[in-house]
Symmetry: C2
């Protein structure tokens, strides 16, 4: 029988498809054609079945679905480490918000997003959700670098460099949604910032529009105790109750943070099929509280994973985030069997895809899904011994070990290097930003 021609054939020591769960395929290969996974089969059989102009033999590597970062603010990567170890309100009021007012522009968002995309690709992330000002620029950068993205139009009642009021945020957002209506890698959703920054009226409008456009809604929710207390004081409702009253609870809703949850909250999430986006490192760093993910998953609620912005993390490494999530869940639930490694990997892949409404095409390595693939090289002495590659990926590696990344079959990282992003030029721009921002910050802190 003649061999079938494919675009790429990736052989690997271990392939971890994520679906079915906790499965490791030894010495298998993935055949890719027209950006899709055509077949996953034994390596020897693959060589007999397929011929390919591009063949990769990753003899010491584990291959997983591309990681999905379900919550972040890409351009804030330019503020990485600008202000650490501060109480939340001082961090926001005296550092982050003044810095945003001073610096955020289309140029800032372009360079910051490019830096974030570089870091995400190099650490194995192939798809990210983003919520920030100038989402048009974020989308442009994602398009340029061929990374998959779900980009939120930011919506709040307060003015920023991007828009003056909720109406303008929505107006500009809808135009952006229209621009990307048929894009293969990018889709636009609604990003009401938080319950305390968006009015009932705007939330109602968002509900109607999201239903009409079948678009996701992404919101910071139940992030801190203070948020709940203020909401109860001002309106007599917990934020989740308020969203329920407005009709926003649905499988289209992505609830980010969720560190303050009672039994009724969990019931509401479960009954309405809402998704929870867990950001453990940011929640720890800002002392926001603990999201009870073991309890949520036991209730059948889909929990995905996000790094949040680099200003409160301080990196965009999803393998590191999955380790933190798996460890923290055990401590918080007081059960060492909670969130095993394979479940943490699901949070960073298929659960992210479900939350973003993209699980028909990404999140696992299966025939007919998009070839969004990450390879991690485990050839070093310090990667030994390996008894279970899934455990090893979650507990003993980090993004630094990612060697190859494909999105829709296109190779974007090869041997740990970006294939088509000029890192030198970008590094130069980032250092320029750092110098400008640092001088201004120092001047400001001298004033106080």
């Amino acid at each position: 029988m003649p061999k079938q021609t494919v675009d790429s054939l990736i052989h690997a020591k271990w392939i971890i498809p994520v679906n079915p769960n906790n499965r490791v395929l030894l010495n298998h290969a993935i055949a890719i054609k027209q950006g899709l996974i055509l077949d996953i089969l034994d390596s020897t059989l693959a060589d007999k079945t397929y011929k390919s102009s591009k063949t990769y033999r990753l003899d010491s590597h584990a291959i997983i679905p591309g990681l999905i970062n379900a919550h972040g603010h890409a351009s804030m990567t330019l503020f990485r480490g600008l202000a650490d170890d501060l109480p939340l309100m001082s961090w926001l009021n005296n550092h982050i918000w003044p810095a945003e007012r001073r610096w955020v522009s289309d140029e800032f968002v372009a360079d910051g997003t490019e830096l974030a995309i570089a870091e995400m690709l190099l650490s194995g992330t192939t798809c990210f959700n983003d919520m920030y000002f100038y989402p048009n620029i974020t989308a442009k950068m994602a398009h340029k670098h061929k990374i998959r993205a779900q980009i939120m139009m930011p919506i709040l009642e307060f003015p920023s460099a991007w828009a003056d009021n909720a109406e303008e945020y929505i107006h500009k957002g809808l135009a952006l949604h229209d621009d990307y209506r048929n894009h293969d890698l990018i889709n636009i959703g609604f990003g009401p910032h938080a319950p305390y920054t968006v009015s009932d009226e705007s939330l109602e409008r968002i509900r109607v529009l999201a239903d009409e456009l079948d678009a996701v809604v992404h919101i910071h929710l139940h992030e801190t105790e203070q948020e709940i207390e203020e909401a109860l004081r001002q309106g007599g409702e917990r934020p989740l109750q308020r969203l329920d009253r407005i009709g926003l609870l649905s499988p289209r809703l992505q609830c980010v943070h969720m560190t303050q949850l009672n039994k009724e909250d969990i019931n509401l999430l479960q009954e309405n099929g809402c998704h929870v986006i867990h950001c453990p490192e940011s929640n720890l760093k800002l002392a926001s509280g603990f999201c009870p993910i073991a309890q949520l998953m036991d209730a059948g609620i889909n929990v995905a994973l996000g790094t949040d912005g680099a200003a409160s993390n301080n990196d965009l490494d999803m393998l590191g985030e999955a380790k933190t999530a798996a460890l923290l869940a055990k401590g918080v639930s007081r059960n060492a069997a909670s969130v095993p490694a394979h479940q943490a990997l699901r949070m960073a892949t298929i659960n992210g895809a479900k939350a973003l409404g993209l699980d028909a095409s990404i999140g696992s390595l299966e025939a007919n899904k998009s070839a969004d693939i990450t390879a991690i090289n485990l050839n070093q002495l310090i990667d030994q011994p390996i008894y279970d590659p899934i455990s090893h990926l979650i507990y003993s590696t980090c993004g630094q070990k990612v060697s190859h990344v494909w999105i829709k079959g296109k190779l974007l990282v090869e041997q740990g290097e970006l294939t088509s992003l000029d890192t030198k030029a970008l590094q130069y721009k980032v250092v320029e930003w750092r110098d400008k921002i640092r001088i201004a910050e120092n001047q400001q802190s001298m004033q106080f």
Copy 2:
């Protein structure tokens, strides 16, 4: 004036001496002579003052004191990832203890310790405390690879391959202490395993001997709720009260884990100058509880940092451990200002030196201290921007970025490679162990 000759001159972009606290020296150099730090001064001045046969120009690097891993079981690195995501008692009873009974031998300890030393050096650790069977082999390996170590003679009432009863453990341990009495890098202390495995009689003997020999005592203590409950049930005392009654609480005592602490416990630790060794990743992974380190440090108690064994971590990366410690402390204390980056760095360096009783010679970069030094290369795009190198080291890097390591002035890691350990040969041995252990474990699990 003629230039003074030194052995090595290390120029670096940033030098972080740890003492004084939270200080960063820009474009400075360290002059090393006969294994000691002779001087730390401005780079330009250094070139005018000193000539050196070996000069390093680390233009994109941060230099810190060598990291000190204050609690571990080096040879258990061969069990890395053998059994994860299990409740503590099932992990111990059904996996770790049977595997130890089956595998632990002088050969196992030699190869496992060598693997751990390689991983520790490559991730910037220059000194480690160790508690395990065959401490004579651990000491031999530390000596061979010229890494600094404080090695505990294990003491418990139960037989193992190393000794039959407490008397024999102590007898063999004292002989080992004698062998290393005058060693420049290695010292031997007392390692009673835990309150529940060592009798009052043995603990009293250890107190007398430790006083006599001026040696440290290192013990797993208040690790789990169950430990406290059992102790109260059996003897009516909390373990710390029992150690107090026996007279073991002193600045010589290293209390490892300490996740269960009430106000009286904290007072006892504080009044007696005991050290706490915090192992956050192991405590999380085994769901042991949370050590309240912010509260301990507020009370003036010295808190050092350890990875614990790789079987419950699953790596020996002290920079990663410091990040986890800094983040977790904020979550647990509900204060985002708790344990700032510079304090986390102190835990991993000078606090470790204090706990080990070695702070006169290591733990900070100061004239007349030993030249135990770690350099981290921050030249990559994803290391940008850097506003504060200390924050960057704790929150945004990991051991993978360590480029150079010196112990007592001797270069042991250069450009991320070990200078004098044959990693290929070692990797081959480790894979052999993995194959043997994995087959036996699989057979065993099929039996049940």
